[in-house]
C-alpha cells in the first residue's frame, strides 16, 4: 500500500510540472479561469442550440429513449433530477421502478422513495423463488396528444411547436386537473410553489445545448436523448430498427414521445 502511495505522489509531482509547463490543455493553473463556471462555456453536448434564441427549437426533433436492458437501478438519474430542480421530498419528476417476477408469474413492483436512494437491499419478503428482475425508469412521456394540456382550464400547461410540454408556473392555479388526467402519473402539485410540476426533459438545459440532467449522469447509457433529424444519432438508429411496442399505455391514444428499448409486457 505504501508503495502505491509513493507512486501516486510521484505522479502528482510529475503532473504539476506538466501543468506549470503549460502542456496540459485547457485553462487551469491554480486559478479558476474567468467564465469557466459560466454555464455558457460548458462545451455543448447538443450542437447548435446556443445560437437559437427564438421561442421554438428549429431544425431538431428530439427523442428520448430509455433502455431497460441497461438500467442498473443506481438512481443517479433521480439524484441528478432532484438536485437540478430541488424537487420537494415525496414528489418525483422521474423515478425508477424495480420489477420482480417469481416462478409463479406473480409480478412485484416497488419504487422505494422513487429509487432516489438506489436499491440497496433485495426484497426478502417474497413467497416464491425469483425468476427475473429488471429496472424501469419513468419520466414524462412528452405525449404528442397530451391529456394534461387538454384539461388545463387556464392555459397554464401547453405544448410548444417543437413538442415540449411545459408549465407556466405564474399562471397555474393549482387545481390539479392535469394531475388527474395524466395517464402516467408524472405530474404532481409542488407543495412549495402550489402549482403543477413535472419533468420537462430539462428544457432549460436542452436550450443551452446540454443534455437532460438524468441522461447526462446515467453511467450505463440507459437514458438516451438525441435528434431524430440526425440520422447518425443513436436515438435515430434505435427508433428505426424494427421493434415491438415501445411506449407505455399505447391504448390511451396520447402518442408518447418517450420510447423504451426492451419494454416488457409486465410494465404499465
Amino acid at each position: 500500500m505504501k508503495e502505491i502511495e509513493r507512486e501516486i505522489s510521484q505522479d502528482r509531482r510529475r503532473f504539476i510540472k506538466k501543468v506549470l509547463g503549460g502542456s496540459i490543455a485547457g485553462s487551469l493553473l491554480l486559478v479558476i479561469p474567468a467564465g469557466a463556471m459560466d454555464f455558457g462555456n460548458i462545451p455543448e453536448q447538443i450542437p447548435g442550440m446556443r445560437k437559437q434564441t427564438g421561442p421554438f427549437i428549429k431544425g431538431k426533433k428530439f427523442a428520448f429513449v430509455v433502455d431497460i436492458t441497461r438500467c442498473i437501478g443506481c438512481g443517479s438519474c433521480c439524484v441528478a433530477d432532484k438536485n437540478e430542480y430541488k424537487v420537494p421530498d415525496g414528489n418525483y419528476r422521474t423515478w425508477v421502478e424495480r420489477y420482480i417476477i417469481d416462478d409463479h408469474d406473480n409480478v412485484y413492483v416497488d419504487s422505494p422513495n422513487g429509487g432516489l436512494n438506489g436499491y440497496q437491499e433485495p426484497r426478502e419478503d417474497l413467497p416464491y423463488p425469483v425468476r427475473d428482475t429488471f429496472f424501469v425508469p419513468k419520466l414524462c412521456n412528452m405525449c404528442e396528444h397530451p391529456s394534461c394540456v387538454q384539461v388545463c382550464p387556464v392555459g397554464a400547461t401547453f405544448q410548444t411547436e417543437d413538442g415540449f410540454v411545459l408549465i407556466d408556473y405564474k399562471r397555474c392555479v393549482g387545481c390539479g386537473y392535469c394531475v388527474q388526467a395524466c395517464p402516467y402519473s408524472v405530474r404532481f402539485i409542488n407543495p412549495e410553489t402550489h402549482t403543477a410540476d413535472k419533468c420537462t426533459w430539462c428544457y432549460h438545459r436542452v436550450r443551452k445545448g446540454l443534455l437532460p440532467a438524468c441522461v447526462n449522469v446515467c453511467p450505463v447509457q440507459a437514458r438516451k436523448f438525441g435528434d431524430l433529424n440526425d440520422h447518425e444519432s443513436e436515438v435515430y438508429k434505435i427508433l428505426h430498427q424494427p421493434h415491438v411496442i415501445s411506449v407505455l399505455k399505447p391504448g390511451m391514444g396520447n402518442k408518447p414521445s418517450l420510447h423504451y428499448v426492451g419494454l416488457r409486457r409486465e410494465v404499465v
Binding site: 463556471m37 460548458i42 420489477y99
Partner: protein
C-alpha cells in the same frame, strides 16, 4: 289607478343596463390584466417559454468539473468510471461555484458512505442488474476472495475516481499473478 314614479319596464331597463355595464367592465379589465404574450403562439402565455429557458442550470456536466480539477480529470477520464457523474457523489456544481467564484465546498464522501455509494451500482445481490451493463460483486464475498479484511472500505484498494488504477499499478509493480475468478 295609482300613479307610479317609474315606467312599467324601468326596472328591466336598469337590469339590462347593469348587465351590460358588468360585461363591458369585464372585457375592459380583461384587456388590461391579460399578459401581453398570451395567445401569441397558442392558448398559453408565450413568455412562459422564455421563463423556462432562463431557469438556472444547476448540474454541470463532468466537463464543467474537470476544467478546474485537472488532476482528477486525468484519472477519471482514463479510468473505468469515466461515465460516472462527479455530481452524483459530490452534488451539483451550482452549489459550488457561482459567477466564477467558489461559494462553498462540495462534500467528499467518507468511510462507510463510500461503500454504500459503490454498492448502489455494483451490488450483485439486487439481481436486476444486467451483467452487460456493469461489473458486480457481492459483499463480503468480494473481500474474502481477494483475501482482504472484511472491514475494509472499497476505496482502500480502489481509487474512487479511477477504480482500477491502483489495482493495475499494484499488479504491475508487484508482479502478482492472481487466481482470477
Amino acid at each position: 289607478m295609482p300613479e307610479y314614479r317609474s315606467k312599467p319596464y324601468s326596472h328591466i331597463v336598469r337590469i339590462v343596463l347593469l348587465l351590460v355595464i358588468i360585461i363591458v367592465a369585464g372585457v375592459v379589465v380583461r384587456g388590461k390584466v391579460l399578459p401581453k404574450s398570451f395567445g401569441e403562439y397558442g392558448h398559453y402565455r408565450g413568455d412562459a417559454i422564455f421563463d423556462e429557458m432562463k431557469r438556472p442550470v444547476r448540474n454541470g456536466t463532468n466537463a464543467s468539473c474537470l476544467v478546474c480539477h485537472p488532476y482528477i480529470r486525468e484519472m477519471h477520464l482514463n479510468g473505468v468510471h469515466h461515465t460516472v457523474s462527479c455530481e452524483f457523489c459530490h452534488g451539483p456544481v451550482a452549489d459550488h461555484v457561482k459567477d466564477g467564484k467558489v461559494i462553498a465546498k462540495l462534500p467528499k464522501k467518507q468511510g462507510k458512505e463510500i461503500r454504500r455509494l459503490c454498492l448502489r451500482c455494483h451490488n450483485q445481490i439486487i439481481r436486476a442488474r444486467p451483467k452487460e451493463s456493469i461489473k458486480m460483486i457481492s459483499m463480503p464475498q468480494h473481500l474474502e476472495e481477494k483475501h482482504v479484511r472484511t472491514d475494509h472500505i472499497c476505496n482502500q484498494c480502489h481509487n474512487v475516481h479511477a477504480p482500477l488504477m491502483w489495482v493495475k499499478q499494484a499488479k504491475a509493480m508487484v508482479g502478482v499473478e492472481e487466481d482470477s475468478k
